[in-house]
């Protein structure tokens, strides 16, 4: 099969043509024995972009992460990173990407310095150059003074910083992180995200982060929202929220089905039932609220009006909540 070696995918508007894609995910399908984890996902990531893969557990984002990081070969489709096909040319690609896994990959019995020394050797770095680089990266992540202590004695946040240092040791131009803030306290989370932004701005590293947290997704330049192996939305957080338009109104009722039906017939708008709540998207929600309460006296037990969030984007695209309990087992 003839496949172009330098793939610069230009699927979107003309204005973006001048920006080459650093990562091009092309119609990736991945099947495990009896389950389709990814079902035809395509998108591009640009240079020096902080790109988020947002999805609930089981959405396929970890599978996609494994394919991007050369650990797995997709059933079909291509992941082309920096011009290298992750399935066909993994060893060439591996030199240029840094990978930070969700699970701890440090060796707790080794010191911080030794972990990095070991990591450097795996990437062909050695001698004085490696030593200098370790010193540099340890001071970047603020752990110079702990260099000779065993990693198993470190806090979760510090271990995560060593993971990051390992991923960045060989100056990768693409950094992949799988749920990097798992198990971190809020302060450590904030530090990590600030550091990712610095990497993007100062070193022009393209950063791809998987997350299931809406507030983290908000910090990304662009997002791909995955659900059950399909790409549900792609764009900046602001653009994605803007498409909802207006406000989101949630009405809590004893009989939400009946209420939704009444709202539909009375106001001629789309109303979805989620659990005990009826969800509406509407311009100027604050004015509508008084109307709806007067229209159905006694039926509404509680209500809320809010600006759309990424969760609302998710609900609109998928028709169910981000953390749905009644999701059918595939």
């Amino acid at each position: 099969m003839a496949y172009p070696t330098t793939v610069i995918h230009r699927p979107e508007s003309q204005a973006e043509v001048s920006v080459p894609a650093v990562i091009s995910v092309q119609n990736i399908v991945h099947r495990y024995e009896n389950r389709t984890a990814l079902d035809g996902v395509s998108f591009d990531v640009r240079n020096a972009e902080l790109f988020g893969l947002l999805g609930p557990n089981g959405s396929g984002k970890t599978t996609l992460f494994r394919i991007l990081s050369t650990l797995m070969v997709p059933t079909s489709g291509h992941a082309v990173i920096l011009g290298f096909d992750s399935a066909k040319d993994p060893s060439a690609l591996r030199r240029h990407i840094g990978v930070v896994f969700q699970a701890q990959s440090n060796d707790g019995k080794l010191t911080a310095y030794e972990n990095l020394w070991h990591q450097g050797h795996l990437y062909g770095l050695h001698g004085a150059a490696l030593k200098a680089r370790i010193g540099e990266i340890l001071s970047r992540v603020g752990l110079s003074d702990r260099a000779n202590e065993k990693v198993e004695t470190f806090s979760g946040g510090m271990q995560r910083r060593i993971e990051l240092a390992k991923g960045l040791l060989h100056h990768p131009s693409v950094l992949l992180l799988d749920e990097p803030t798992t198990g971190l306290d809020p302060g450590a989370r904030r530090d990590l995200w600030q550091y990712l932004a610095i990497l993007r701005d100062q070193e022009k590293v393209s950063v791809i982060v998987t997350t299931h947290l809406m507030e983290e997704a908000e910090r990304c330049d662009r997002l791909a929202i995955l659900n059950e192996g399909k790409l549900m939305a792609l764009g900046t957080p602001a653009d994605l929220k803007r498409e909802i338009g207006g406000d989101v109104v949630l009405l809590e009722a004893r009989d939400p089905e009946a209420l939704a039906e009444q709202v539909r017939s009375r106001f001629g708008m789309e109303a979805t039932v989620m659990g005990q709540q009826v969800r509406l998207e509407i311009e100027s929600g604050h004015r509508f609220v008084t109307d709806v309460v007067e229209a159905f006296p006694g039926e509404i037990q509680a209500l809320s009006v809010s600006k759309p969030t990424l969760e609302d984007v998710f609900i609109r695209r998928t028709g169910h909540r981000f953390w749905s309990e009644e999701k059918p087992e595939a």
Binding site: N47, M72, P74, L82, D89, I97, K109, G124
Partner: protein
């Protein structure tokens, strides 16, 4: 503005070195070993305990088992005990493959530009080093069973121990690689490796075995390790194979086991790697 994306070139990617990553993986096995004090103690004490307890127990129960002329059983058993020590250390060091996988350490190695052969070589040499050292510690007792070794015999003994260690560590690697629990690993060890050792001429000689057992023993690669050691330690005892045959077979076995480990590690699956 010259962005990094403009400079993607395939020519920049050279051949991945094998020795630097193999060295660093080997180094890690050794460092991890001596930082775990209980393992160090176990390596030194267990051979002594094992040989003294089992050897003297059997020695008094079956005086002159008759396997090797007029040899005392404690003497006869010495090479077998040596093989057993090497066998267990070799195989069990490769439990670290399963631990590395569970802890996530292995993932960071798998996404590095490291040839898979370097992973096998580094880890297997690490286990081999530890098993060989343990075998050598046990050699300290050789004078107690009346063994006097010249330099060339000593070096050949070390070579034999090294080959057996390397082959068994590689076998342990190949068994451990696809596994996700140490319990499953133990089950396999008990199923295959203890019979492998029992039928290696360690407990009783090949020449005294019944027909079909003898065939199995002749097919068992460990038999050649035991035979080589026995020939080197007791040059006067009659043996079933020449030293050249034993060492040659062991070398073939070693290459085959390394090949097996290499095949296992190169299976790039579509299943999750962790």
């Amino acid at each position: 503005m010259a962005t990094q994306s403009a400079s993607f070139s395939k020519t920049a990617a050279g051949r991945d070195g094998i020795f630097l990553p193999a060295f660093t993986l080997w180094w890690r096995e050794i460092v991890r070993f001596y930082r775990q004090r209980s393992r160090v103690v176990g390596v030194i004490v267990s051979p002594l305990l094992f040989w003294v307890v089992i050897g003297s127990g059997f020695g008094t129960s079956f005086r002159s088992g008759g396997g090797a002329g007029q040899q005392h059983y404690l003497d006869y058993f010495y090479p077998g005990a040596l093989i057993m020590i090497v066998l267990f250390t070799s195989i069990f060091t490769m439990m670290s493959v399963i631990e590395d996988r569970k802890q996530g350490f292995l993932l960071s190695v798998l996404v590095a530009p490291v040839p898979r052969s370097a992973i096998v070589l580094g880890k297997v040499l690490g286990g081999t080093t530890l098993a060989t050292i343990q075998g050598m510690i046990f050699l300290v007792f050789a004078p107690l069973v009346g063994v006097r070794l010249g330099l060339s015999s000593f070096l050949l003994v070390v070579l034999t121990i090294f080959l057996v260690s390397f082959a068994l560590t590689a076998l342990g690697f190949a068994i451990a690689w696809p596994m996700d629990s140490t319990q499953a690993f133990h089950a396999i060890i008990n199923l295959f490796l203890i019979p492998l050792w029992l039928l290696s001429g360690s407990m009783f000689p090949l020449s005294k075995a019944a027909g079909w057992i003898r065939v199995i023993m002749q097919m068992n690669p460990l038999t050649y390790g035991t035979e080589a050691l026995r020939t080197l330690l007791y040059p006067s005892s009659q043996s079933d194979f020449s030293l050249a045959t034993s060492l040659g077979t062991l070398t073939l076995f070693t290459v085959a086991m390394f090949g097996l480990a290499f095949v296992m590690v190169n299976r790039r699956s579509t299943k999750p790697a962790a």
